[in-house]
């Protein structure tokens, strides 16, 4: 069976790889942050801004690598490429996210529902 992320199970599913926008936050600087989720901890999402999905990131890699090679020869290792992406850490609490599903549907999620480690989030129960 193939995986399927639906608006109903999004809260329990992997958030990594989805495009997201911070719709509301108590910190006004974070509102409007748009990018792809690359990592997740219990309380935060790590968002790489400027990319809508991983394939766009992959395409950008070659350009970044050649740029590094031009400025500093004998480098361009993958680890150094990673530092050229602009990452932002957004706390899950006090924020509202709009996730774009792979089938282009958009879901608005209160960040408070997402507070849990990725492996614990599946079995979390919600009242609604």
């Amino acid at each position: 069976m193939t995986y399927e992320i639906t608006p109903e199970n999004l809260v329990y599913h992997t958030l990594i790889g989805l495009e997201t926008v911070v719709a509301e936050s108590t910190n006004s600087d974070m509102v409007g942050t748009r990018g792809v989720v690359v990592d997740e901890t219990r309380n935060t999402l790590l968002i790489t801004t400027g990319y809508s999905d991983f394939s766009a990131m992959k395409e950008a890699t070659a350009a970044i690598r050649s740029e590094i090679r031009n400025t500093t020869p004998h480098s361009g290792e993958p680890d150094e490429v990673g530092e050229h992406f602009l990452d932002k850490t957004i706390p899950k609490t006090h924020s509202t996210f709009i996730f774009s599903l792979p089938d282009d549907r958009k879901v608005r999620v209160d960040g408070d529902l997402l507070v849990a480690r990725p492996e614990d989030r599946i079995s979390k129960k919600h009242k609604n």
């Binding site: 991983f54 990131m57 992959k58 993958p78 480690r117 492996e119």
Partner: protein
Amino acid sequence: MTRKHRKRWIKNIAGQQIKRLFELAESISEARPPMADRYVHIARRIGMRHRVRIPAHLKRRMCKHCGKYLVPGRTCRVRLNGTCVVVTCLACGKQTRYPYHHDRNHTPNKERE
């Protein structure tokens, strides 16, 4: 949802997540290898927490010793020695052997004698 149904549903989602995390690891491994390793780590944690096995073909894409995501030719070396597929992780240097005895009475060593 009864308890039984809920359990089954959780395992189903967990299995989907493991698959998805490995796909994501594949697509990001070129740009940011540390992230790919992180996804393998999360996939393992999900598998352990919900007692879902990591599918055999995906298990070969990670190092059993250090948990790195393995890409043949870039982060691991794959060799055949007549009895096993030997996968060497280039990060930790440890080897994992996957035996492929088709007929246990006909190992190459015996044929030589």
